[in-house]
Structures are given as structure tokens and as C-alpha cells.
Symmetry: C2
Subunit: 198 residues, 2 copies
DNA sequence: GTTAGCATGTAAGGAGTTACATGATTTT
DNA sequence: AAAATCATGTAACTCCTTACATGCTAAC
């Protein structure tokens, strides 16, 4: 049935992350990997086993170009965004659907918010918040419905889990308010909301 | 080289989760799924597409037995832990290696702490804490090393990420202290350590 | 001169999801 | 009698990891 487009290689968040980083400046794989893990450190980590094949695929697709930078005889491959790559990045940055606010993807999308349109930012932040609130609701409902007494560890896990999610919701709410204020203050500012220093 | 045991089917945390829940009482798949997602709600969710194949495999391995409960003509399959399954569960609960404190697995191990030996509990809690502290260290180091100024969103993401991890570390530290107190107070008490309210 | 870090890659596989497929039973 | 939810399952696929394989270069 599914006549889905046969996507030949990798995709997912890594692609966005790589394009986003390369948009800031050209880099080679190893450096990309480190910047990535610094940026997302607390949330995710990518291994070379996924990064290099991803670069390879993006090269094949023409989204990046590779220049062999020979300082001495050291084989470094510097990747650079092509025009096609920039276009593709814009498309990815413009996506504000469910996948952009799922656990695995949200962090990466957020990391490139300064390159993202204000409207899209807002939709992603709100999408993520509803997603989390929905989750809170589900868990609370089913916990309430559970007649059987659970042991203290399970309880403690649930408590900590709920608190973590509630904390993220508060964080998102603050961000959303900040965004709204910035939007009303300078009506029409579609670019980065100033405040490079927080 | 690796003459590793060729594990024929699924494994991972789901197996432990299923065995742990079935140890409390026999259940059918659908119910198992709901209990699972109530228990872990905030952390993880498993879909039927992984639960049912897992049950199938466990049946094949003889870790569970299946009784068709026919209330009316409704085809429910009630799964029950076998002696082998109980033994296997004990083995899994006894594992206190790195995999038990990784993000994806820790929650499940913790959820069954009331069925886990006090020593193992302690090793898992401490293992998880070191893991997180190591991560904090890595990120902080590489953030400090980063000369280039990052934009405010990236900064905010890092800040929130670090804070979340630090929060979990504090939580773990409290749990560890509670465990220690319980251990010294009633030497030999392998059961739950009260303190549901933090 | 050896350890640690820089640098690039590949093959095999693990763990789970998505979408599909089906039907019974309860609630509204 | 329609909609929700209970209930079970499979095939194809995705995305990423692990372990392997290799060699250079800087620091101690």
C-alpha cells in the first residue's frame, strides 16, 4: 500500500542539527560532534557511527560540500553548507508539527531558535507545552484510577516524574511569555529577539 | 571474536518491566500496557508493537505461561510468571551494571526497587548519580572551553538542561541518604525506606 | 616513547515505532 | 446505532549504537 517516498538514508534530528551548526560556520566532522554534544549535552548525544554516515548522505544529496583541508598531511574534511542545504535547512526550521515537540526532537529545534521564525518558535513552544500537559493529565488520571496501592518506590518515581514535567511546563510558560512580550514590544520583529545576554 | 549468545528476540528494559509487573499479579497484555504507562508515564511509553512481540518471545522462552480467560467469548490472554520466569526476574533485578543506570533503563529498575536487594539498589542509585555528575562535568568543561559566544536560546537550553540534571542529582542524593539511614537504623531491613514525602 | 586526543570511517545489529489489520464490548 | 475503548497481533521500517578498523599528532 504505502507508496511512501523511499528515503534512502538517515534523517531525523541529526540532519537538522548538522545543517544548523554548519550554517553558523563550516566545520569538520569531529568538531561538529563536539559542538553537538556541548550544545545538547544534557539531553542527547550522537555517536560517530551516526554522524559520519549522515554527513556522507548529505553530501550525496548536495546539501553540503566537502573540502579537504590539508594542514600538513592531516586529513580533515571541512563541510560547508551549499545553497540547496540552506534551503533545506529553512524548510526544516519552518516545520512546526508534532515531531518538532517530541522529547527527542524538541531540544534540537530549540537550539536553533535564533535561526527560526518567531511564529514557528511560538507554535513549537506551545505544542511542546500541550504535549506535556496532556501527558500530565494522562498519568494523573490513570494514577487516580489505580485502586491498588503501589509501593513507595513506584510512588516516588511517579512523584519525581510529574514534578519534572511540571517544571518543564513552567519553564515553557515563562519562555512563551517572554516571546509574547518581545513580539508586542517591537511589533514586526521576525528576527532574533535581541537579548544575546540573558 | 564475539561468541556472544545470540539472543533470538527482543530484550531490553521491556522484558524486566513485564516480568516485574507479572510478579505482582497475572495480567493480560492490554492491562500490562496500561499499568506500564501509568508507572513510567512521565519517562517512557511502550507501544503494543513492542509489548506483544515481547510477550510472545517470553512465552517461547518459558518465562511466562498463557491462559485464555474466556469471560463470554472475549479472547483475553492472561499471562502468568513461571518458575523460570521468576528466576530470570531475580537475575535481572540483581544486575547493577551501567545499563541499569542509563536514561532509558534507570526508571524501570527504580520502579521495581521494592523487589530489589538493598545493596543492588544502592549501587544503582550511586551509579546513576556518578553517570549524571560525569555528564555535568563534560558539559560544563566544554561549555567553558567554548570561546565563541553562543546565542541566547542555546544558552537557555544549556542552562535548563544543567539545572534538570542537577535537580536529579539532588534527588538521588536524598534517596541515597534515606537508604543509608534505613540501613543503619534497622540493620538488615531490605524493604522499602518510607519517606514518601520529600 | 607512550598515552591521550584528534580525525575518519564501516558493518552488523538492537530496540522500538508506525501503520496496518481485525474484531468484541461497553458507553452514550 | 455510533463512538469509544477493550483486546490482540504483524510487517516494514527508522534511527541510532556498538564494536571494529585505522592512522596522525600533541603533550608529558
Amino acid at each position: 500500500m504505502a507508496q511512501a517516498v523511499k528515503r534512502s538514508g538517515r534523517s531525523g534530528v541529526l540532519e537538522l542539527a548538522v545543517l544548523g551548526l554548519l550554517h553558523e560556520s563550516p566545520m569538520h566532522g569531529y568538531e561538529l560532534s563536539k559542538r553537538l554534544n556541548t550544545m545538547l549535552g544534557a539531553f542527547r548525544a550522537f555517536s560517530y557511527g551516526s554522524l559520519y554516515p549522515c554527513l556522507k548522505q548529505m553530501l550525496a544529496l548536495g546539501h553540503v560540500s566537502a573540502d579537504g583541508e590539508s594542514t600538513g598531511s592531516r586529513s580533515k574534511i571541512v563541510y560547508r553548507l551549499t545553497a540547496d542545504g540552506k534551503e533545506h535547512l529553512q524548510n526544516l526550521l519552518g516545520e512546526a508539527g508534532p515531531s518538532s515537540w517530541e522529547d527527542e526532537n524538541f531540544g534540537v529545534h530549540f537550539a536553533f531558535f535564533s535561526q527560526t521564525d518567531a511564529e514557528v518558535r511560538m507554535r513549537i513552544l506551545e505544542g511542546r507545552r500541550s504535549r506535556l500537559e496532556e501527558r500530565l493529565d494522562n498519568v494523573k488520571t490513570s494514577v487516580a484510577r489505580t485502586r491498588e496501592r503501589v509501593d513507595s518506590y513506584t510512588l516516588e518515581l511517579q512523584r519525581h516524574g510529574l514534578e519534572s514535567v511540571e517544571r518543564e511546563v513552567r519553564w515553557l510558560t515563562e519562555l512563551i511569555e517572554t516571546e509574547r512580550r518581545a513580539d508586542t514590544a517591537s511589533s514586526g520583529t521576525s528576527s532574533v529577539a535581541s537579548a544575546t545576554n540573558v
